[in-house]
Symmetry: C2
Subunit: 199 residues, 2 copies
């Protein structure tokens, strides 16, 4: 891959490559240093473009952060529908564990960890991205309810009960997260939901 290493050269017809390179570098820096550590000078240097190129694309840093995280939200964790809810949620958790352990997953968590007083706008954004994923989950849960595989459930609660433990596991980094781990969590939550529904 030919990468232009001259810092001040204009991107010319390779806008898309440059954008990709910048977003990847921004994600790396976010994961390393958090939002406050994301400086345009370092970003330009890592992506091997001129600083003006960065400012032209994202005059405000919040816009850059939004695009990086939006990209992350699009890439991550679709929910299958094989007709079998336990299997689909298990696959969902395996994919989520991988995303959570990645540089972008850590950047996302870093974002949520940010202090309330200096990053409300960005924090709200991270929450919106998470909520978008919750809508997909609700649709899948509703189909499972129709199929008699679950009582009526509330996606934000189910998501918290499933993704919360996975996040916890991944942060400890004691060992890799396996399909058996995912299955154990899903089984416990699904059986618990049935019992709660029956009370």
């Amino acid at each position: 891959m030919a990468v232009d290493s001259s810092p001040m050269r204009r991107p010319g017809g390779r806008n898309r490559d440059v954008t990709e390179r910048l977003l990847a570098a921004a994600l790396e820096i976010l994961a390393d240093k958090g939002i406050d550590g994301l400086q345009y000078e370092e970003l330009a240097s890592r992506a091997q473009v001129g600083r003006a190129t960065v400012y032209r694309r994202w005059p405000k840093r919040d816009d850059l952060v939004r695009e990086v995280l939006g990209r992350f939200a699009e890439l991550s964790v679709p929910i299958d529908d094989t007709g079998e809810i336990v299997r689909d949620l298990t696959a969902f958790l395996l994919a989520f564990a991988e995303a959570a352990a990645s540089a972008s997953g850590r950047a996302m968590l870093q974002l949520l960890l940010g202090r309330a007083d200096d990053s409300d706008e960005v924090h709200r954004l991270g929450r919106e991205l998470l909520d978008r994923r919750t809508d997909d989950l609700q649709r899948r849960l509703d189909r499972a309810t129709e199929a008699g595989q679950l009582p009526p459930t509330d996606a934000p609660f189910v998501n918290m009960m499933l993704a919360g433990p996975v996040q916890w596991f991944v942060l400890r980094r004691a060992r890799p997260f396996t399909r058996d781990d995912a299955h154990e969590i899903v089984e416990l939550v699904v059986t618990g939901l049935w019992r709660q529904g029956a009370d």
Copy 2:
């Protein structure tokens, strides 16, 4: 409370006060800026002591981090034994939610989020502190099993299933975590554990 605001004054007979002030300030900085942002110059200035005082107490930064986090682990989240496991776990989760939302709780999570390659020692330490809490939980769970309130359970798994969702909830900061929230999580996990045990 009389606080010495002269930066270079020696602590004299007030060693303990100075240590407390330093640990509190170190925790604040950890929560704000992470491990890498914990600089002795800023720490001394925030705690209103001379820099030499800091170096004398903790020649290595890892020792300081260890003491700050050890203090956090000691302060946080005892598990009651009222004889009623659902009630005790609910109280445990309420206390954990408060600890997780605090400056020190965020600092602890920040620590776990650190990059694998540059903070292995400190990361391992954070994990050890978490494991110490798991031992208490195991003893409480074993007594519940003896009383017929739970099947035999594994504290690290139960802790993940309880504390993971609470951490997830707290990070979103959408609304305060209530006793009803704690109770809902505990009920689901306890009923799920019974069903898993019955399979």
